[in-house]
């Protein structure tokens, strides 16, 4: 790993200003799990790491805490670890999808260091991107090497010109739960819908999120739960543990008078961004929950898939994962 200077600044503004002054040379460190990995591979070589953990005061407390908000929602600080979130029993079951996503990501040791903010902002795992000798589209090259290469883990939805899958397990959960994110920028704090945090590769294939250089993700803000709100997260991995998901699904809904309402469906690890599936939502909104209608919704969700040569298997896999999540969210028994 290249030598660097560690900078601890006690205020959010000072940290932000430090990075925005020279974003090419300086970057934030949260848990450092993704950043150090990239630095060891030689993909990044910042000469200053600004320690987000050093931020003190009100902002520091907000970034480190999980708390109910005045409007009845919940705020999860960007520096909360995945382990803390997964073990936080006071978070109402209505938000179960994000707890389950956190608790199933990576491994217990990694979850003790990895933070919520770092998880949402980590760089992709595509092996062409992670290989220090290869210049792919994400690193300023001319083409996405996955297109003609081994693309078994790449995108089946929304791909092009880059075909990465978004690496964050929290991604589909924050989108399905209709969360917002609070960002500290030049003109203070602003709050945007979580799905606007993620940028498709059509905007700028070298970036996965919309934060300006030097901006800090402060918290994930969960809206007040709807009366009777339920949510669920499900995934499929090649190995049962310590593996990246091949497909994930998060679902939020209510079931009123025997029909599904307020449904949001998002898929993970199938597209360059956490993938909101309006197709599935259209099939299910107002329908009575049943295995048959879930199968129809899953088919609709993946009807827009355009798999590459080596990843067509992800289409039925994602359908199955989504069907499970729908069964769990609505407490509908699984078919025998």
């Amino acid at each position: 790993m290249n030598p660097f200077t560690l900078v601890r600044l006690p205020t959010l503004d000072a940290a932000r200003e430090r990075v925005s002054a020279e974003p090419q040379r300086r970057t934030f460190r949260a848990g450092g799990i993704d950043l150090l990995d990239r630095m060891k591979e030689g993909l990044d070589a910042p000469d200053e790491l600004i320690e987000l953990h050093a931020i003190a005061g009100e902002h520091g407390a907000r970034m480190r805490g999980i708390a109910a908000t005045e409007d009845g929602g919940w705020r999860i600080g960007a520096l909360v670890t995945l382990g803390q979130l997964a073990g936080y029993d006071d978070l109402p079951p209505a938000y179960g999808a994000i707890k389950d996503a956190a608790g199933n990501a990576a491994t217990p040791s990694i979850r003790n260091g990895a933070t919520v903010g770092g998880n949402l902002l980590q760089r992709p795992r595509c092996w062409y991107f992670r290989h220090s000798d290869l210049l792919c589209l994400k690193k300023g090259g001319y083409e996405c090497l996955a297109v003609s290469g081994d693309n078994r883990f790449n995108a089946i939805l929304g791909g092009g010109p880059s075909f990465i899958v978004h690496p964050s397990s929290l991604g589909s959960a924050v989108v399905a739960l209709d969360a917002k994110v609070t960002i500290a920028g030049e003109s203070g704090l602003r709050t945007i819908p979580a799905d606007q945090l993620f940028a498709p590769p059509t905007v700028d294939p070298t970036r996965e999120h919309t934060l300006a250089p030097g901006e800090v993700l402060v918290s994930v803000d969960l809206p007040p739960a709807l009366p009777g709100q339920r949510s669920a997260y499900h995934f499929a991995k090649e190995k049962q543990s310590q593996d990246w998901p091949l497909a994930e699904a998060s679902v939020r809904c209510t079931v009123e008078g025997g029909v599904i309402q307020d449904l949001r469906v998002a898929l993970g690890h199938v597209a360059p961004i956490p993938w909101r599936s309006k197709e599935a939502e259209d099939v299910l909104e107002g329908a009575a929950p049943s295995a048959e209608v879930f199968a129809k919704a899953a088919q609709a969700a993946l009807s827009v898939a355009e798999p590459l040569e080596g990843n067509a298997y992800k289409v039925p896999l994602a359908q199955g994962v989504l069907r499970y999540a729908l069964h769990f969210a609505t407490s509908t028994p699984l078919p025998a």
């Binding site: 200053e48 040791s109 990694i110 260091g113």
Partner: protein, 180 residues
């Protein structure tokens, strides 16, 4: 410091931490990981450098009692915290932790490279759950520790056995309960 610019030769930082119960002060480079400082500055070579990128778990230590990957933890992160490595695992047990004894009895180590990391993950599980644990709990706790020799069966047996020795029928714990 004279010589090269600060960007290419950052100053060393004095790290004050506790390692296996001992107060330690050591000058560390900001870019050195906890694993590098343990192994190459402090001669604590029990924690292993395997993949060096979070995949294998051979470097697992405990920071404030929780398992952590020393290869992806900057050494400075240990400032003011308590680090436990496999070298300190038996300290409270007369030198040999019941887990180490069970690994020996069950032949749960073959080449042994993964064993220190596995012991540290397993110990953290047993301290969170001071009772006999299930195989599923052990599987989950060891999800980040790869072993390429044993096929895991004997490791699972050993951890479950150690939890029973420590907290099950006939253990000191159980005897204490009966006495009350």
């Amino acid at each position: 410091m004279s010589g090269p610019s600060p960007a290419s030769a950052p100053d060393a930082i004095l790290l004050r931490t506790s390692i296996n119960g001992d107060a330690v002060s050591v000058a560390v480079e900001p870019h050195h990981t906890l694993l590098e400082v343990l192994r190459y500055q402090l001669d604590l070579i029990g924690s292993k450098q395997g993949c060096d990128k979070g995949d294998c778990g051979a470097c697992t230590v405990q920071i404030d009692g929780k398992p952590a990957l020393a290869c992806l933890t900057l050494a400075v992160h240990a400032e003011g915290r308590a680090v436990t490595t496999v070298e300190g695992l038996g300290d409270a047990h007369g030198g040999c932790h019941p887990l180490q004894d069970a690994f020996d009895r069950h032949d749960a180590a073959q080449c042994g490279f993964c064993t220190p990391g596995i012991l540290m993950s397993a110990d953290s599980l047993l301290r969170r759950n001071p009772r006999p644990v299930s195989r599923d709990e052990v599987r989950e706790a060891l999800a980040g520790n790869l072993c390429r020799c044993t096929g895991y069966t004997k490791i699972l047996d050993a951890v479950v056995d150690a939890s029973e020795v420590m907290h099950g029928h006939g253990s000191d714990d159980a005897k204490k309960e009966v006495a009350q």
